[in-house]
Every structure is written in C-alpha cells, then in structure tokens.
Amino acid sequence: MNQPKKQEFKTPKHIDDYPTGPQYTAGFLPETNAGWRTVRPLVDHEACVFCLRCYMLCPDGTIFKDNGKINIDMDYCKGCGVCAFECPKDAITMIKEEL
C-alpha cells in the first residue's frame, strides 16, 4: 500500500507548537474517514480480473494493488459505490456497514 497513512497528531500545548503560519506537512492525516460509511465494498477476488478500473476511478484513491490483487484501505473508503458500479465483472458488491 502506497497511500498516506493515518498519523498521530500531537495537539499543540504551547503557542510555539503551532507551525509559523498556515503551513503543514503534505499528506499528514490525523483523521480517518471510515466513519462516513454506511455501506462498504466487498471484493470477490475470484471474479476480479485485475483490470484496475476500480483503482483508477475511486474518488478517494483507497483501492491499491496488493501483490496482484485489489485491496482497499478501509480507513479512507467512504462507501460511495463507484468501484462496484464501474467494475465490468461485478466483482465488487456494497454491503451494509457493520457497527
């Protein structure tokens, strides 16, 4: 997986802990987006032909190539369903998010 990962953010305790001006490390992610989901994609690896259309079209870039297989970073998937809709093989289905 070559996506940025959630990182821990140290809440500033002193004014000098803030960056000088509005500047911060590119790709720094203290929050996940998993809480947005009400449904989640389930990949049927049998059906998948690794055409990468889902990888190309995921608005959140959460699908990645995992040793010749599709995998999804569930920290950042929002459950939009684009991958499932676009998959030419119907290899992805959206299922209700579990608690």
Partner: protein, 304 residues
C-alpha cells in the same frame, strides 16, 4: 511545444501507485476528486498545486488534515491563476528545474471570478497547467449558478417554478474562449473518459507555456445523482453530446470524438435532480443547441 510523439504514454498499469490526494473530506462519490487525483498521479511528485477556494481546497486542507501529499496551497478565489503564475515564475527565479505547476479550480473559480487572472496568465504564457473541474455550479457554497451552469439547471440561485425554468443563461464557451487566446495547449475532457483525460494531462505536462484542461466532473450532491454513478453520468454527458471532447493545439482545433449518433439527452437529464423539472420545450432548447454547436464544431474543427 515538445514533440508529442516522444512523450511516454501513461495509463492505469504504469502510473505511479502513490496517492497525492488522499484522506480528503469530499462527499462520497465526488467526481471532482477523481479528476484531481488522476491529474496529480500523472503530474507526479515534482508538482506545485495551487487551488482557489472551492470544494477541492475546502475538503483538502483542513488543519491538521493535509490531504495533498505533494506541495500544494490554497489561493484566493479570484487569484488562482496569478498565484500559480507566481509559483512558476518564482520557482524558476530561484533556480528550480524539472517541475510542474498546476492550478486546479472549479467552474465558478475559472469562468467567473478567476477568469481575468487566467486570461492574464495565458497572455503572459506562464508555464502553468490550469485544470478546471467543471461541476456546473458553485458547489462549495451550496450549488449556486456559475457561468458554466447550463440552461435549465436548477440551482439555489436559479430556482425553478411557475416563472423560471432554472438557469436562463447558457453555458459559457470556456474552451473556445481560452483557445481564442491562442494558448499553447487546451483540451476538454470528462472523468467519464478517464484514459482520455490522463492522456491530455500528460500532454499538458510536457507542454511549455500555459496549457488548459476543462474536465467535466460530476457532483452527486449538486446534481442530485446517486454517488455510485458519478463516472457513468460524466460519460453519459459526453455520449449524449452535451459535453464534447476536443483539443486546441498549434492554432488548430481537433474534435476527439465525433459520434454518428448521440445517446438521448432526455435520459441524461432525467437521471439528475437538477434537471428533473425540465419541460419538453426546455429539453428541446437544450437538444437543438447541442445540434447547432456540433454543426459548428464539425464545420470548423474537423481536420480536413
């Protein structure tokens, strides 16, 4: 301009597997974020991105969550192009080499309030790629009409009812207006045709001087469409002929797709909350304008 034949092709198999727009807070299924994400993957790490106020900046830079995994900044809403110019010129002045500057702005930020700065940038021919992701309204502020909102669209400032059919003005000819500046490279695209979009970004990446890509990018929230159809609806817009794929290069237009038959405009409109109210008469206006536009494009733009 460089020799385009020499540019290595980029596609989903060989493009970097790094993500440069990640962890952002866009609505689920946001088409704009697909455009941004793909463009940055083509442009790569040595890119400075400048985004004016608009959805993509609003969802990408919420301290301390920094969704741009490359150098990027938010610009004033009217000043995207000029701040982009400043980056490109400044980076050159301090001696940087081998980098690209990209401005990524919405339709309102491009065709309305940021238009002057964009025009000035093209005029100076600063080495910047300007990408307008067009979701046909001011989305970040809650779906108001922009200069690129098509006729008949329901927005919060072009309501529909007994007296008005939604927007009464037509979509500004952004691409032609930009091309008329005699820009080095300009193109239209749609996230519904992602490889075509990738190719165009790649071409622009290798263009010296100003280049411009107008990419159609769906907004499920503003359009009233299901999140999962975002790519499909952007494809359908092209297939029904309301959006065209074209390029302007070396002073000439090129029509990239010139289908014999269009898919139904009705079907395209009926799928979207923003067009549901449209009367047959208004749909007729839309269709006949499409036909006129294609007639003109075919007459003038087809390579003879």
């Amino acid at each position: 301009m460089n020799n385009m034949l020499a540019i290595p092709k980029v596609n989903v198999k060989n493009m970097t597997d790094k993500e440069f727009f990640y962890g952002h807070k866009a609505c689920a299924g946001c088409g704009g974020s697909i455009a941004v994400r793909l463009a940055l993957k083509v442009l790569g790490e040595r890119t400075f991105a400048a985004l004016p106020a608009g959805c993509m900046s609003a969802v990408g830079f919420i301290y301390p969550q920094m969704a741009f995994n490359i150098n990027a900044l938010i610009t004033t809403f009217p000043g995207a192009a000029s701040m982009g110019s400043g980056i490109a010129v400044g980076a050159k002045a301090i001696g940087l080499k081998d980098f690209k500057t990209v401005v990524i702005a919405g339709d309102g930020g491009t065709a309305d309030i940021g238009f002057q700065a964009l025009s000035g940038m093209i005029d100076r021919n600063d080495d910047v790629l300007y990408i307008c992701y067009d979701n046909e309204a001011y989305m970040n502020t809650g779906i108001q009409k922009s200069g690129l909102t098509p006729y008949g669209t329901k927005t919060t400032t072009t309501p529909t009812g007994k007296n008005l059919p939604g927007s009464v003005t037509h979509k500004k000819n952004l691409f032609e207006i930009i091309a008329a500046h005699d820009i080095a490279y300009a193109a239209t695209a749609s996230i519904g045709y992602p490889q075509d979009f990738i190719n165009k970004v790649n071409k622009a990446k290798h263009t010296k001087g100003t280049s411009f890509i107008h990419v159609y990018a769906s907004c499920p929230t503003g359009w009233g469409t299901p999140t999962e159809t975002s790519v499909d609806i952007a494809k359908e817009a092209v297939d029904c002929g309301l959006i065209f794929l074209a390029e302007y290069e070396n002073g000439e237009y090129k029509l990239n797709r010139n289908p014999k038959n269009f898919k139904s405009v009705n079907d395209y409109l009926a799928k979207q909350g923003r067009f549901k109210h449209m009367s047959d008469r208004d749909i007729e206006i839309v269709s006949s304008n499409r036909d006129k536009k294609w007639e003109r494009m075919r007459k003038h733009w087809l390579q003879k």
